[in-house]
């Protein structure tokens, strides 16, 4: 680009001085003051004003982030102790307590959701990445995934409620997991497709040239090479699912007890960190509100760590 321009534009070189005639100043009617950058000119002033306005607005947009983090550390950090991880939620008016069952519930439901959405998402992505770019069916799948990305999370809960809770007559960890899996699916499909498409064409061609079937190529070349990118997508999806509240409100509901009370059973109401924060934030008891802040701190840490792991993976993705 730059070298091309240089080739097109003839280098400006000072020609030989005019041998005859008086020296004529070619810049005689140019007012040099007008070419200088001056704050008295409106266009310069507008420029400066807008630049400062935009900088200030960007900084202002970051204030909530710092405020949230500081509040979490201040109000959540005070009560953070080992107890909150091992004890059960307190009854109203009761002191102490924790949310061990909610952490466990969140982990179990996110794991369930991952179990459903990872195979579904990756295989769909394999199909999309193998399809021709102009294929209308692949376009439809991609469009569906994009629509699902902006899908209100509460409607995933409504769906799981209609399919599982109404049919099997009860709130359960399974229904919560299914609702979360719907929200994880589009992220996994779209990032995994990108990652698989980024695998250098040489590697794919080499495998096919060796006589590998498309399936062998997928399993032995494409998926291992694209794995960092796919894992990034999975981590982002998990981070999003862990923080979701709306789809769990009326699928997993809440529970004040351990999930494995009386045998390990996924078909009973299950606590989760996000729903605990929602429930406790609205209570008129200081102890519960404090616990909500601690739970929020734990949840944000969980989500951020998952996000960071995902970003660490994305740096190892091989680009063409």
């Amino acid at each position: 680009m730059n070298t091309q321009d240089a080739a097109i534009n003839p280098r400006i070189t000072p020609g030989p001085p005019d041998p005859v005639g008086p020296e004529v100043n070619p810049f005689a009617d140019v007012d040099f003051c007008e070419l200088e950058r001056s704050l008295r000119r409106p266009r310069t002033l507008v420029d400066l004003l807008l630049s400062n306005l935009v900088s200030a607005m960007t900084m202002l947009a970051l204030i909530p982030l710092f405020s949230v983090v500081l509040m979490l550390l201040w109000r959540g950090g005070q009560r953070l102790s080992l107890d909150v991880f091992t004890q059960l939620p307190p009854a109203p008016m009761e002191q102490g307590g924790g949310f061990g069952n909610a952490i466990l519930g969140t982990l179990i439901m996110v794991a369930l959701a991952a179990l459903i959405s990872i195979p579904l998402g990756i295989l769909s992505a394999v199909y999309l990445a193998q399809s021709r770019p102009e294929s209308p069916f692949a376009g439809a799948v991609r469009f569906g995934a994009k629509i699902l990305t902006g899908f209100p999370s509460i409607l995933a809960g409504v769906f799981a409620y209609g399919v599982l809770v109404l049919t099997f007559g009860g709130y359960s960890a399974i229904a919560g997991g299914v609702a979360l899996s719907i929200l994880m699916l589009p992220t996994i499909i779209l990032t995994a497709e990108d990652a698989i498409r980024m695998v250098p064409a040489k590697m794919r061609d080499a495998a096919i040239g060796m006589g590998a079937t498309p399936t062998q190529t997928t399993w032995m070349v494409l998926l291992p090479t694209a794995m960092p990118g796919i894992l990034t997508g999975i981590m982002l999806a998990i981070a999003r699912a862990a923080g979701e509240t709306a789809p769990l409100l009326f699928t997993a509901l809440f529970s004040n007890y351990w999930l494995f009370r009386g045998g390990f059973d996924l078909k009973q109401p299950t606590a989760s960190l996000a729903v605990l924060i929602y429930n406790f934030a609205g209570m008129p008891f200081d102890n519960q509100v404090d616990l909500a802040w601690v739970a929020a701190l734990v949840l944000v840490l969980l989500v951020l760590v998952t996000n960071l792991i995902g970003q660490a993976f994305s740096r190892r993705q091989i680009h063409e």
Binding site: V54, L65, P119, V158
Partner: protein, 339 residues
Amino acid sequence: MSDINQISRPPTHSQQVVDTAFRWLCCGFACLSVLMVALIMLEIAKDAVPAIRQYGPGFLAGTTWDPNTGQFGILPEIWGTLYTSFLALLIGTSFGVAAAIFLSEGFLAQAVFQILKAFGLQFHPVLGKLPDRAEVLLKNLIELLAAIPSVVYGLWGLFVIIPLIRPACNWLNLKLGWIPLFGTTLTGPGVLPAVIVLAIMILPTITAISRNALVSVPPKLRMAAYGMGATRWETILAVILPTAARGIAGAVILAFGRALGETMALAMLVGNANRISVSLFSPANTLAALLANNFPEAAKKDVGVLMYAALVLLAITLFVNIIGSIILQKASAGQEGGK
């Protein structure tokens, strides 16, 4: 030659069978993912049918919600959903696009470079990279706003935003109460705190997509504008923003879809009051918050009504999302043609 034959050979029969089966499996799973959207719509519509038969379109215009008398209407919720989302979009767009311009036009990199230059450090092996690093860091910080769960924003709004803005709101009501916008006092949860938090939540979406649109404006256009003597802002306002307008419009519409469907922050901050008011300080309700509050303790006979409300929410968000996606798709297609 024999070595090559050992490594490369045609697939055996069983490998071909596995291959065909796997390809069909992938195709089937892809079908399943796209069917998921249809399945969700069908399921919600199916459960809503009894309520649609019973209440008909009058449900959309009714203003009472009373399970005891069996009277249901969601006009206040529809109004609240659109009103809060629209206001949040106004705030979110202005800040989001400003941040996108700030992050794409090299303002920060230039500022950091100037500082380094003042100390004569602009070519330092480590510090010299700082201008680019600072911009990436700021972009990541803005994206971090999106990573915080909405229920945490709700908690923060409840205990930080509401106490913070309440004195100012009540002062406005006292002095300017004749303006409908300030017509009531802020007693606790209300429209304004919900709008502020909602705006913060959609800002990262707007910034990320708008920044992509701004960055992919062909550099030639920028160079041409500068070459003609335009100032930086003349270039931005007259050349770059119009070129990226489609991408930014797509971002705004997608963010609108997000705002319409956002549940937790609103359920915690909007006040859940069944009323229609233009006042920024009055409590209100939204469709998503209505679902979140009523589903957990819904009686069997009321589930149909809630499904009807869910169907309305689904229709509104789906419509907005599809339009946003189509605009973005056209924007990126147009840009590829322009290069």
